[in-house]
Amino acid sequence: MPRRDDIHRILLLGSGPIVIGQAAEFDYSGTQACKVLREEGYEVVLVNSNPATIMTDPEFADATYVEPLLPGSVAQVIEKERPDALLPTLGGQTALNLARALHQDGTLKRHGVELIGADYEAIARAEDRDLFRAAMVGAGLRVPRSAIATSLEEAEAARDDIGLPIVVRPAFTLGGWGGGVAATPDEFRRVVRRGLSASPIGQVLLDESVLGWGEFELEVMRDRNDNVVIVCSIENIDPMGVHTGDSVCVAPQQTLTDRQYQVLRDQAIAAIRAVGVETGGSNVQFAVNPATDEVVVIEMNPRVSRSSALASKATGFPIAKIAARLAVGYALEEIDNDITRRTPASFEPTIDYAVVKWPRFAFEKFPGIDGELTTHMKSVGEVMAIGRTFQQAFAKAMRSRELDSLPRLEALDLDELLARAARPHAERFDVVLEALRRGAEVDELHRRTAIDPWFLRELAELAAAPGAPFAGRRTFKAVDTCAAEFEAETPYYYSSWERSGAGEVRRGERPSVVILGAGPNRIGQGIEFDYCCVHAAMEVRATGRDAVMVNCNPETVSTDYDTSHRLYFEPLTLEDVLGVIEVERPEGVVVTFGGQTPLKLAAGLAEAGAPLLGTSVDAIDLAEDRGRFGALLRELGLRAPPYATAHSVEEALARADDVGFPLLVRPSYVLGGRAMEIVYDHEGLRGYLAREAGVNGNGREIYLDRFLENAIEVDVDALCDGEAAWIGGVMQHVEEAGIHSGDSACVLPPHSLGGEMLDEIRAQTRAIALGLGVVGLLNVQFAVHGEELYVLEANPRASRTVPFVSKATGVPLARLACRIMLGARLADLDLPGERALGHVSVKEAVLPFDRFAGTDPLMGPEMRSTGEVMGIAPDFPTAFAKAQAAAGAQLPVAGTVFITVTDTDKPAASTIAAQFHDLGFRVVATRGTAQAISRMGVPVVTLNKIGEGSPHVVDWIERGDVDLVINTPMGTGARTDGYEIRSAAVSHGIPCITTLSGGSAAARAIGAAREGAAPEVLSLQEIHRRANGEAKPAPPRPAEVA
């Protein structure tokens, strides 16, 4: 069946900010969908709140709306754009849920919008637990047996049907508290009794336990003609019990016999038919009991997923691209396999290598959280490695993780190691390898972990001889979907070590530029850097050179095989990268776009003679070395906060007084503010140094900076060609200095800085750019303290705000920087003057506190956000409100605001309280804050602190009597009132603002929202067109082109 001609305009929904469980894979799938649908001649309307994505680049859709992914805003877009169809299966759970909501509230029907890809009934059958079970049973498949019981008698009656062991979960307790697994009748009675009393409604859910069974996933595609293919099988090395996103996985499956595998294949096909996903990709997850051959279906996602991105990268079969074509009418046999170009997509890829995926965790960012892995996903990113053997792939995946420090296991004896291996956690496989190294038996480890012995045996060999898989010669092999049965057209390579040196790289004659990617997503280094790398590839292609990408993150657009001319799926270590450079012989290497990952390699690469493009290694060092940078600032006559560098605890304590408290302390080499803290006195400093000795061991430097309290922080992104500099954007942070810039909301253009100060900021940025000798991008952070401007730091590389600035201004900074690095002059680029934009853009961070029960949901100098959203509106308050809504903290327009602040914040808090009162809010506060507020003449209700007895503030929050919390911290750590308040707010989904400037912005935003209807939605294309029309060339500035 050919392309559908009855639809013309298609609405595509993105997945919003990067959060745990929903990451860059949906930028990859959405970007593929945009490309394909436009190639097919459809108009694409896109809604996504995440500015760091490639898909929201204005050239990827006909109309791009950076709006909150909420039914109201999407309905506004639908009303304005009148699409014929909505494709909801490429934007993760967010898009699917939105599509359901828009169906349920009648919006789709009212505007005649057809759901394509998956219809409402199919989505409901996959998502609703009961409907799904019924569909599976109807198709003859088995699901885990389960029951609900409200008494011990009911539970006992269900026990025999389900069979022990049984998982008991009390209904409506947070995080399943009070439940457990029962293996014997006695244990069962005990756990059920406990569960019944823990549940507020006296109900327990009983599930057949499949803990320890093998976990397998099959990626399935189906077309309109009911043809079904399996793209890939994935085996979780961690058995059932660990979320697949947190499991170390291998593709293809390794341990099932052909007969067992074919059973799964049949069942996956039966499942997609039973759920009724008409076209597109789905992921079906199975538990298999290796002892009995029993198979149960665990779940199915009727959409592309993290696993489908992995399967696409593992096989070369572009699931999202093909899903988009299927959704508009094509059949699998009518679509060509991009890789071979001579076979149709109606085939099953076969591979001749092993793929290992490893999750990347960030537990170090969340003190107080234990790293245990459960069915609740906690990883923030992942890496994938390809090897000709499992051991090659596994070892490559391990080194791709880029851990700050490897787990220290020397002190543990074998028994302790075995005990730790039994418990799934972030370091499990490091522990398993160490245990094997010390002689642990495979059988013993299998008994403790339930990991299939095949994997343990392979790991035992790896532990015994880590170098053995890498004996022989390094050669690059191609990923071709067909195990070399056909010739491949699309060059997508991985390194392998073989006896013969038969490489497959077809280098061609054109000059190439190697772009080093950003590695695994983690806090502090997210999708923004992938965005920059993809832009570098686009620019390199545009100049007629071959773009060559090196990266190991399977979620990303950069590792899509058609982003670059050649893709090397490789760890970003010096040795691996030099291997690529050896075969590529590139004209240049880009290390400044992928965040810290490639930057760390710059010196080593330069030493090995690799031709780095842009800013020199010396300039990078000049910016990073405190002493050298300080001298440069002095030379330029610029001011920086007093600072000192120390190499020991004693030295730090001695120098602290010279610098002056409060101090911002951190280790010299940090990512995302890792281990950065503000201390107010000697005692605090001593405590910090004791805690962070690990980060700072072995005489690494410690930086002490004077912390400027209540300063306004400013970020600037600029371009420089070494002789002239151009300001891309100036952003003012909403939160005061001291909150990590990655966690702070920021506004472009600045909402409260005067013209003179802005001129000063621009002039200093230019001076620093030229002083450093930047060729490419530069980010400078300033603090405005009173009337003074201080330089905090300068980073001569792509910053995390580059995509935001590019979206806000319509100027593609990363591409332009790449052009400069390839030799262009700023003067050649025909850049507009800094624009008088007709709109305000706000970037807001999204924090993962809801995932980490037990951590303090508080912002500080250590970055903890996983992603970001953007709000665009004609004025600051509205843009701020949109950004809050997009970040999942929709501000209330009425109700009760609870305010509790430190003494120094009390005067300012009273002003905010007055604003809320004027907006019609009831104001409640704890005693001290309430006194300050009532002195201003604002009516306020006084609440008990926790220690003052019930009903206290947390009771109020839990009862739902509070709609907004403004709480500035009085110290961190468990058991403080502030901690309890913030935790209660986060767990009840109540917006919790922890800075006064945030509180003030919220009051203004609520005021704007109450004034009337939601403002008109505008696409980025319209906004940029307006900006271009309205942009007045800035008055000539002699300094602009110095």
Binding site: D258, D266, F347, T350, F390, W454, K477, A483, A484, E498
Partner: protein, 322 residues
């Protein structure tokens, strides 16, 4: 299992080193490859691999050991296994023995640690050829002589070597070499419902007067898409053959998705199945007498179960004829 160095030598002189890991070589024959990612025991016991050395493109072979359930016939028909990362795994759940122990017990040489991808690419570019697995001590000249001594594939009667009874499903060699079987099949057509599979397909086609030709690269894997022209459905099939049936106008590939027809000695034959990889004939039906054939392996083992419906069709044909 102790390993010692060995090598694969192809008739054009290409050499690939590895470690011997089962019975003692040499083993000589046609070197072919199989792209399935599981089902190694099924593959080597499949009679259609008689006389061939199988190169497994998936590197890990032996992961789940061997069991009686996975044998496709009474013995190993392949002459050797060429692998990248073979393991024995006698203690895998459900295993009745280790893969390499079992091969050794069956007297089948095997070699591992070979850059199988380079080997497969070589065959793909140069075409299927003879070759052998040899111990490192053997000189290349001696090895070459052994390869040269092996008859070429086209024209060999491997059916006689592997067939216990009436030939319906078999053999890697072309049906052209099997005129005596063709005569037998010819006597059956019109008398009994006939269903030909793989070589059986080629024999039946020749029996009714159609021609076969040697493919440049055989079909060897478990992932080939075949379209059933009667329903429009596409099935993923298990394949292992080096020859195919010539189309109605003497062409080797079929341009459209139409059920084109041949005129045969037994009336009209109609194309029913088409390979979407290279558009060669994968199956046909005889319209005037009860008979149908497919070129691939609907019985799977190893491979997908998408084509099991063909057996229902055949049973219906038997019932209709009774």
């Amino acid at each position: 299992m102790s390993r010692r160095p060995g090598f694969v030598l192809l008739e054009d002189g290409a050499r690939f080193d590895g470690d011997l890991c089962a019975a003692d070589p040499p083993a000589v024959g046609e070197v072919v490859f199989n792209t399935a990612m599981s089902g190694y025991q099924e593959a080597v016991t499949d009679p259609s691999y008689a006389g061939q050395l199988i190169t497994f493109t998936y590197p890990h072979v032996g992961n789940y050991g061997v069991s009686a359930q996975a044998t496709e016939s009474d013995r190993v028909h392949a002459r050797a296994a060429i692998m990248r990362a073979a393991v024995n795994r006698e203690d895998a759940p459900g295993a009745e023995g280790g893969w390499l122990d079992w091969l050794a017990g069956c007297g089948i040489p095997a070699i591992t640690g070979v850059d199988t991808r380079a080997l497969v690419r070589h065959i793909r570019e140069q075409g299927a050829m003879r070759g052998g697995v040899f111990p490192a001590e053997l000189s290349e000249e001696e090895a070459r002589a052994l390869v040269e001594a092996e008859p070429r594939m086209d024209g060999r009667d491997l059916a006689r070597e592997v067939t216990p009874g009436e030939p319906i499903v078999l053999g890697p060699t072309g049906a052209a070499a099997l005129d005596y079987v063709v005569d037998t099949v010819r006597e059956l057509v019109g008398e009994r419902p006939v269903f030909g599979i793989c070589l059986g397909h080629q024999l039946l086609c020749r029996a009714v007067g159609l021609e076969t030709f040697k493919l440049r690269f055989g079909h060897r894997g478990a992932n080939h898409p075949v379209k059933d022209l009667q329903t429009g459905r596409i099935e993923i099939t298990s394949q292992n053959h080096g020859f195919a049936v010539v189309g109605p106008d003497g062409e080797t590939t079929i341009a459209g998705d139409e059920p084109v027809r041949w005129q045969t000695d037994f009336g009209t034959a109609e194309l029913t199945h088409l390979n979407l990889y290279d558009r060669t004939v994968e199956g046909l039906t005889l319209r005037d007498v009860p008979g149908a054939t497919v070129q691939y392996h609907p019985e799977a083992g190893p491979g997908p179960h998408d084509s099991l419906y063909l057996f229902d069709r055949f049973l219906d044909a038997i019932a209709a004829a009774a």
